[in-house]
Amino acid sequence: MTLSVEISRDVAVENAAERPGGKRAKPSAKQLARIASALTIAGLLLVWIAAAHFKLVSPVFLPAPSAVLWKFYSVATNGFVDATLWQHLLASLLRVFAALLLALIVAVPAGIAIGVSAIGRGIFDPIIEFIRPIPPLAYLPLVIIWFGIGEPSKILVIAIAMLAPIAISTAAGVKGASLDRINAARALGATRAQVVRHVILPSALPSILTGLRIALGAGWSTLVAAELVAATRGLGFMIQSAAQFLVTDVVIMGIFIIAIVAFILEIGIRRLERMVVPWAGRE
């Protein structure tokens, strides 16, 4: 979540800085931010290296960066708790994307209903508002009581976390559809259903994709909770197993992998947005 916020701020700054006609003399606000980021990362890395090198902290609590890197290589090739890093990663990705599919199937129609009809809003608004603030760890036990400890429960826990962002963004997109465009379609003979399909849905698409991006972030951060119980593979499971055996370097490596994958997903969806809704923001 923090990541996505920072990236959007970056984009805003970039747009603001580019407008007055790209001068090169002074470093722009964007460049300053980049330099500050690079220095921060380098500084943290140095502190980490120093702490490990001078044995300020026991390796059980904070292993050296080199040890984490080495662990990355060894888990990628030999595996950890009966699966390689790629198998853990694949298991987690499949869960998150299965959950995303499920959440889209439920939340997009719900969002449209909230946006187009007062009755729809009356039905779905309280449900969404009820689910939205509850942390996944709180409903995890109930999901397990109802659906058991198998794969469906894990997917469901992630999907529930994704429902609210998708439904809320969809509803906002639907409400933002231009009245002139809706009227134009009606005056060309569109029925109510055709207006929804040909005008409201495409109008809401940029907003739906934004919801999808937020949902993917929310779902990914729910991963560890979802893999708490009876998993045999997955990044979250890998981290927890490692923690139980106090294999701190695997824990840290796992955290980095989760962060890197989240970053790659974020960039991927931004690409997708540019491809699917090239008109967004050009009106």
Binding site: A187, P202, L205, W279
Partner: protein, 257 residues
């Protein structure tokens, strides 16, 4: 011959002290070019929307050939001031949108789009994206999209209001060409007095507070253009200037009353 008739139409929006328009009658037949003029707040757009079926009248009726209408329909296509095109469709699919709604096969739709784009003098841009185009081009595409429905009536709400002067003049003659070539009845709202005189067969002058008709003026300059006389020569005619003075007076009179 189709006949669109606003019969003593009143529209009173919720929460407003007085009606937007009251007891207003306007008749548009095929081949008519009726232009609504009057200062802001006299209910021009409200009347147009009532004719389109987008705003239900709170008094009186809107009929087409004697049948009361309660909803928008493809027989009365609307052209909006801000073109209201669909940016997720390219030019071709915007133009043939009315045919998509009717389930016309793709090949026929594309052929129709080519013909319609020729009619608004925009051949060969069917594959372009909407946001690549200028305001004048977008407005012509909005016109082509409305014509695709083969409407009996063309309802236009200040279609040229956002265009620069030169583009606007070119669009005026294009509108006259299209009106002359198709047996449509046109109902158009404008702020431009010259524009009203040049285009209209009948000008309806409205006054605000509450909106109502103060005068109807017959005009024939558009017919002269359709008969082959150039716009420049029409506007140079002393009769044109006299008609303009008369029209300006009626708009001011309406305001004073």
């Amino acid at each position: 011959m189709a006949h669109l008739f606003l019969d003593h139409v009143s529209v009173h929006y919720d929460g407003q002290a007085q009606p937007a328009v009251t007891q207003t009658s306007i008749s548009v037949r095929s081949g008519d070019f009726v232009v609504l003029v009057g200062r802001s707040g006299c209910g021009k757009t409200t009347l147009l929307n009532a004719a389109a079926g987008l705003v239900p009248p709170t008094g009186g009726t809107v009929t087409v050939d004697g049948k009361t209408i309660t909803a928008p329909g493809a027989d009365r296509a609307v052209v909006f001031q801000n073109d209201a095109l669909f940016p997720w469709l390219n030019v071709r699919d915007n133009v043939s949108f009315a045919l998509t709604l009717r389930g016309v096969p793709l090949r026929e739709r594309d052929a129709a789009a080519v013909r319609l784009l020729e009619r608004v003098k925009l051949d060969g841009i069917g594959g372009k994206a909407i946001w690549e185009l200028s305001g004048g081009m977008r407005q012509r595409i909005g016109l082509a999209r409305a014509l695709a429905a083969e409407p009996d009536f063309l309802l236009m709400d200040e279609p040229l209001g956002a265009l620069d002067a030169l583009t606007r003049e070119r669009m005026q003659t294009l509108l006259l060409d299209i009106w002359a070539a198709n047996a449509v009845g046109v109902l158009m709202v404008t702020h431009g007095i010259d524009e009203a005189l040049l285009l209209a067969t009948r000008i309806v002058v409205l006054a605000p507070g509450p909106g109502r008709v103060v005068r109807e003026i017959e005009a024939g300059f558009g017919r002269r253009y359709a008969g082959g006389e150039p716009v420049r020569s029409i506007k140079a005619d002393p009769a044109f200037n006299q008609a303009r003075a008369e029209l300006e007076d009626s708009i001011l009179e309406g305001e004073a009353a």
